[in-house]
Amino acid sequence: MNLTSKKILLIDLEKLTYEVKSYTELQRYVGGVGLGLKLMDMFGEKDPLIISIGPLNGFFPYASKTSIVVNDGGVIEDFYIGGTMAARMRFTGIDSIVLNNTAESETILEILNSDVSFKRGETSSGSLGLPGRRSILSLDESKALLDSYFTTPEYFLENKFAKKNIKTISLTGTEVVSPLLMEKYQNLYHTLLARKHELSVNESSQPSCVNCPMGCERSKTGELGGNVLIHSLVACQYAEKIYSDVGIIFSCLNILGYDYTHEDIENLPGLIEETLKKLS
């Protein structure tokens, strides 16, 4: 688990190569959209598709989304997908995946922790990754579907998959973490889980995001834009009441061992705005 730097998986689709780099200087971007926009600033000329999680994903209830940042015809778009992806990515040990350039032919990426296998388009998605620990994001006719169900708004992801010749991304995380303050972590986890009545969606019986008991009807379609703090963590927008409380954010971060300060969190929206200005 990276407490002082961001671990980035850089994939070059043209050369079919990859490397993992740790960046201490990216720590202040926290995660999700903050991290994604900064990586867009760093790798923009390679037309990256950037998939990021935040420090709470995999650990706390309702921190269940994955951030995606792309340049769609000159406009930087940030959008979010629910389901299993954030939780699986947490246990790969990777904070962001940056998919640079374009593959020559239709390509499937099988990511297992920090390793990537490049496969041809005809590979069956059922043979990818490890059952119970994988997410499969695949271009299925007109939409990109995560685990055959969850999608993203509009067609930004589909356009980018098509342009880059990506058919499927399989993501498996097998790392296991033991927070130092395990008892406090467990207490906070259950305290937050018990606050589900504060979410702005109704409980239902639809397929749910991992670490969320709601089974709501909204999670299927993902999210677009919104509160940059929520989207840097990367929590569900319907849990905004919980995760816009800086006290709760600090409790979560401190229990996991992060050393973010109030100033870091307070300065984040300004930092994101500054990055966006550079990008435009």
């Binding site: 995999g58 650990f59 299993t84 939780a87 699986r88 246990f91 059952p131 119970g132 620990r133 579907l145 685990d147 055959s148 169900y149 995380g173 097998t174 790392e175 296991v176 973490v177 033991s178 927070p179 395990m182 972590y185 467990q186 986890y189 889980l193 409980e203 019986s205 639809q206 397929p207 749910s208 995001c209 991992v210 670490n211 969320c212 008991p213 709601m214 089974g215």
Partner: protein, 85 residues
């Protein structure tokens, strides 16, 4: 007392049970979990099946039952084979 997957069709794939089982073993993650939620094709495009390792019954199974938001699990009074050996 043993934990049973009585209503698998109610599973919504939230994996709260998987993560609770791991926390009881003082860890967070999916590797080595005594509960596994598997995904396949279903009525809603996605369907779930829940697999239990018999060693799950050494954990606090009441807590595992109650964390499920849709009531997939029941607790049976019968002893598991593992404990009869």
């Amino acid at each position: 007392m043993i934990l049973k997957v009585t209503f698998p069709n109610k599973c919504i794939g939230c994996e709260l049970c998987v993560l609770e089982a791991q926390r009881q073993l003082q860890k967070v993650g999916f590797e080595g979990s005594l509960i596994r939620v598997l995904r396949g094709r279903g009525d809603k495009g996605i369907g779930f099946s829940v697999e239990l390792d018999p060693r799950i019954n050494k954990l606090d199974i009441k807590k595992l039952q109650t964390i499920c938001p849709t009531g997939v699990f029941t607790i049976s009074e019968e002893d598991s084979d593992e404990f009869n050996q």
